[in-house]
C-alpha cells in the first residue's frame, strides 16, 4: 500500500541523506488511504472546530471529506511543543521558527514531499524556501501562519503612531507630557533580546549587527545593556496575552511590543488602541506545519497539510488569530472571512520589515562565534532580575 523512496532514487533525498539518512529514506511518495485519524500539536486557537465560536470551524469539513478524525493537543510555548514532539505519538505540529530548526536538528520531523501537496503552488513565494523550514533545499513542512510582533500603543496618549521603538527602550516624555517610566512593557521571553538587537541595528550601525539572532559577544553585550535600561522603565514584563490585555485596561500601560491578537481584542472592547511597525522593523513569528518522523498516520497528515493550504482555514484562522495567511489568495478569494484590508492590517505588506524568530545557535552563518540560546535564557533572567 505504501511505497517509500529509496535513498538512492531521489537526488533530493540524497542531499538530505548526508545529514539525516533515515528520514530522507522514509519520505512518502504517494498519499494512500487515510488511517482514520491525525493528531496535531498546535498553538491554542490554531485548530478550531466551531466549539469556541461556531463561526470559526476548519476541522469538521476536513473530517467529513477524509474520514480522518482530528485530535488536538495544545501547547503554550515553543518549548512545550518540542517536548511533546520528543515524547512522540503525534503526527503534526504547528512549530514556530524558534522551534522548527530544533525539531529538524533533533530528527523529530521528516522531510515533506511537496509534490504530494497540490496546493503548495498557492503558498506565498516569500515563504516557500524560508530558512526556518527549509534546510539544504529540503522542505520540512508547509507554511501555516505568520505575523509580526507589533508596537501596540494607546491612541489617546500618542496623537500619531510612534515612529520608533525608542518609546519602550529609552526614557522619554511621551506626547501626553508624562514620562514613559512604568507605562511600557516588554516581552518576558529570552527571544526578546532580538528586539533589542534589531533596535541597535538601526541606531548603532557601528556594532555591525547583520541579524538580530546572530550576535557576537560585543553585539550581545550591547543588546543586554539596552535591555538593562529598559528594565528601569518596565514594571512588569508580559508573558500571557490576557495579562497584557488586562494591564492595558487596568494598569495604565500605553505602549508595548505585542501581537495583532491582543490589539484586535482590545480594539473590539472599544479601547483607544492601535498598532504600528516602527521604522526599525519588527520581529515576528512564522509557523510551519511539520510532520513527525515517526508519524503513525502519514496519509491523513499529508491530507491535512493540503487542507491547511486549500480551504477556509487560512482565511478564517487569520481573522481568528490576527495573523497573516501563508496563502495570499486567502485574503481575497472569499474562502473565509478574511479581506484584503484585514490582511494588510495584520501585516501582509510588512513581510520585508520582519525579522522572523529563529533559534540563536553558536554556529551561525553571519559570523563564527554567536551567543547560543542557552545563554540568552540565563542572561535575560539576569536582566529582568536587575543584574
Amino acid at each position: 500500500m505504501k511505497q517509500f523512496f529509496k535513498a538512492c532514487v531521489s537526488g533530493l533525498a540524497l542531499t538530505a541523506a548526508t545529514t539525516l539518512p533515515l528520514q530522507a529514506a522514509d519520505m512518502l511518495s504517494e498519499v494512500g488511504a487515510g488511517e482514520g485519524s491525525v493528531s496535531i500539536v498546535a498553538w491554542p486557537g490554531y485548530i478550531e472546530r466551531g466549539e469556541t465560536d461556531p463561526a470559526f470551524d476548519w476541522v469538521t469539513k476536513f473530517e467529513e471529506a477524509t474520514s480522518c478524525k482530528v485530535e488536538i493537543k495544545t501547547a503554550n510555548t515553543s518549548d512545550e511543543m518540542v517536548a511533546l514532539m520528543n515524547e512522540g505519538g503525534f503526527d503534526l505540529v504547528t512549530a514556530s521558527g524558534d522551534a522548527s530548526l530544533r525539531l529538524i536538528a533533533g530528527g523529530r520531523v521528516q522531510p515533506v514531499n511537496i509534490d504530494l501537496i497540490p496546493s503548495w503552488s498557492r503558498v506565498d513565494d516569500r515563504l516557500k524556501d524560508a530558512p526556518w523550514h527549509t534546510v539544504k533545499g529540503t522542505h520540512y513542512g508547509t507554511p501555516f501562519m505568520w505575523g509580526p510582533n507589533v508596537l501596540m500603543y494607546n491612541t489617546e496618549v500618542f496623537g500619531e503612531a510612534p515612529k520608533s521603538w525608542n518609546v519602550v527602550f529609552e526614557e522619554m516624555t511621551l506626547p501626553d507630557g508624562e514620562s514613559n517610566k512604568g507605562r511600557v512593557q516588554a516581552y518576558d521571553g529570552p527571544i526578546y533580546i532580538a528586539d533589542a538587537a534589531m533596535y541597535l541595528m538601526a541606531h548603532k550601525p557601528e556594532l555591525g549587527i547583520t541579524s538580530p539572532y546572530e550576535l557576537n559577544e560585543d553585539q550581545y553585550a550591547a543588546a543586554l545593556d539596552l535591555l538593562r535600561t529598559q528594565r528601569t522603565l518596565v514594571s512588569r514584563y508580559w508573558h500571557d496575552a490576557f495579562i497584557q490585555i488586562d494591564d492595558f485596561k487596568n494598569e495604565g500601560m500605553v505602549a508595548s511590543s505585542s501581537w495583532p491578537f491582543m490589539v484586535n481584542l482590545l480594539k473590539a472592547d472599544g479601547l483607544p488602541i492601535a498598532s504600528v511597525i516602527p521604522q526599525e522593523g519588527a520581529t515576528g513569528w512564522a509557523d510551519t506545519l511539520m510532520l513527525h518522523s515517526e508519524a503513525a498516520h502519514p496519509n491523513c497528515a499529508y491530507m491535512f497539510m493540503e487542507h491547511s493550504l486549500n480551504s477556509n482555514l487560512q482565511s478564517d484562522l487569520s481573522v481568528w488569530f490576527g495573523a497573516v495567511p501563508s496563502v495570499p489568495e486567502a485574503c481575497t478569494d472569499g474562502s473565509g472571512m478574511q479581506t484584503a484590508a484585514g490582511c494588510s492590517e495584520n501585516g501582509l505588506d510588512d513581510f520585508d520589515k520582519i525579522k522572523f524568530w529563529q533559534t540563536p545557535v553558536s554556529n551561525c552563518d553571519g559570523q563564527d562565534n554567536c551567543v547560543p540560546y542557552y545563554r540568552w535564557v540565563s542572561d535575560y533572567i539576569g536582566v529582568i532580575g536587575g543584574r
Binding site: V234, R236, I243, N250, S362, Y374, V377, I384, G385
Partner: protein
C-alpha cells in the same frame, strides 16, 4: 511450625489455584503483611523516591555551553552555576518572600485561631470553618487574577485610597526602594499580599487545632498566680501552641517556596525558584540547572523540617 503442620492436618488442601493461594497466604502471615505493604512501598519507592533520585542525578549533569546539549558526566558545575549572582538572587528572593509570608501569616492567624478556639461556639464555629475554608474551594487561578484586579493601578484598592484622601500614603509605601513599584500589582508588596491571602487558611487551621488542645485551666491558673496577660501569652499560651504554629509554617513556607504562578501574575517579573525551574527546563532545555534549582527548596525544607521536629511540631501526629 507445629501449628502450621497441625493446621495442615486439620484442613485438607482444597482444590483450585485460588483456594490454594488463599490457604498458602493464611499459613504464611508474614507473606500476607508483605503483600499488603508491597504496593504502597512500590509506589513510594518508584514513583516518589525514584522520581526524586532521577531528579537528583540530573542535577549532577551539566549542559555543554557551546551546543546546549546535556552532557551525561558527573560534575558539580551545575551547582556552581547556582551561585552565580543572578541565580543566587532568585534563591534569596524566594526564601525572603517565603519567610516574610510565613511570619505575617503566623501573626495574622493567631488571633483569628484564638478567637475560634476560645470564644466561637456552635453556629459561630461553623461560620468560622466555612469562612476559613471557603477561599480554598474556589479555583486558585481565579483568586490570583481577582487579586490582580484588586491591586491594579486603576483597581478598587487605589480607588478606596483616593476616596479616603490617602493616596499620599499608598504612594509613600510604593516609593520605598526594593519592595515598592509603580503600582501594588507590580511590586513585591502585591506579591506578598496575594501569597498571604492564598496560604493563610493553611496557617489558621493547625494553629486553631493546637489552641483547642491548650486547656483553659492552664491560662486561668497562670492568671491566678499573678501573671499579666502579656506574661500569660508569652510563657503559657505561646509555648503550648507553638507546635501548631510551626506545623502551619511548614505549609505556608513550602507552598510559597515552590509557587510559580502568583509571581508571574502579580509582581515585577523578577523570577522566583519555581519560575526559574519552569524556564530552565522549558525554554532553555537546561534540565540539569532546573534540577539543581529544585534541589534548593528540598534542602531548605529538609533543614526546616528538622528544626520543626525539634520544636515539637510533629508530637501531636
Amino acid at each position: 511450625m507445629s501449628d502450621l503442620s497441625s493446621n495442615a492436618a486439620l484442613f485438607a488442601p482444597r482444590s483450585g489455584p485460588l483456594a490454594r493461594a488463599v490457604d498458602w497466604i493464611i499459613r504464611h502471615p508474614r507473606m500476607f503483611v508483605f503483600l499488603l505493604v508491597l504496593p504502597i512501598t512500590l509506589w513510594l519507592g518508584i514513583v516518589y523516591i525514584g522520581a526524586l533520585i532521577a531528579l537528583l542525578i540530573q542535577s549532577f549533569f551539566s549542559i555543554d555551553e557551546f551546543s546546549g546539549v546535556v552532557v551525561h558526566e558527573f560534575t558539580l558545575k551545575t551547582y556552581g552555576e547556582l551561585l552565580r549572582p543572578y541565580n543566587l538572587d532568585i534563591i534569596l528572593r524566594t526564601v525572603a518572600m517565603a519567610a516574610s509570608v510565613t511570619i505575617a501569616a503566623a501573626i495574622l492567624a493567631f488571633p483569628i485561631a484564638y478567637f475560634a478556639a476560645r470564644y466561637a461556639k456552635g453556629k459561630w464555629k461553623a461560620l468560622f470553618y466555612v469562612g476559613v475554608m471557603l477561599p480554598l474551594w474556589s479555583s486558585y487561578l481565579v483568586k490570583v487574577y481577582a487579586w490582580k484586579l484588586v491591586l491594579a493601578k486603576e483597581g478598587i484598592l487605589n480607588w478606596i485610597f483616593a476616596k479616603l484622601h490617602l493616596t499620599w500614603l499608598l504612594e509613600g509605601v510604593l516609593s520605598l526602594p526594593v519592595i515598592g513599584g509603580n503600582s501594588l500589582s507590580v511590586s513585591y508588596i502585591g506579591t506578598f499580599l496575594v501569597f498571604l491571602y492564598i496560604w493563610l487558611p493553611y496557617m489558621i487551621i493547625p494553629v486553631q487545632a493546637a489552641l483547642e488542645r491548650v486547656s483553659k485551666d492552664l491560662t486561668e491558673a497562670a492568671s491566678d498566680l499573678g501573671a499579666t496577660p502579656r506574661q500569660n501569652f508569652r510563657m503559657v499560651l505561646l509555648p503550648l501552641a507553638l507546635p501548631g504554629v510551626v506545623a502551619g509554617s511548614i505549609f505556608t513556607f513550602s507552598l510559597t517556596l515552590g509557587d510559580y504562578i502568583v509571581p508571574q501574575i502579580v509582581g515585577n517579573s523578577r523570577l522566583f525558584i519555581g519560575q526559574a525551574v519552569y524556564t530552565q527546563q522549558g525554554t532553555a532545555g537546561n534540565i540539569p540547572l532546573a534540577a539543581a534549582f529544585t534541589v534548593v527548596p528540598i534542602v531548605i525544607m529538609g533543614i526546616y523540617l528538622w528544626g520543626a521536629r525539634k520544636m515539637g511540631a510533629f508530637d501531636a501526629l
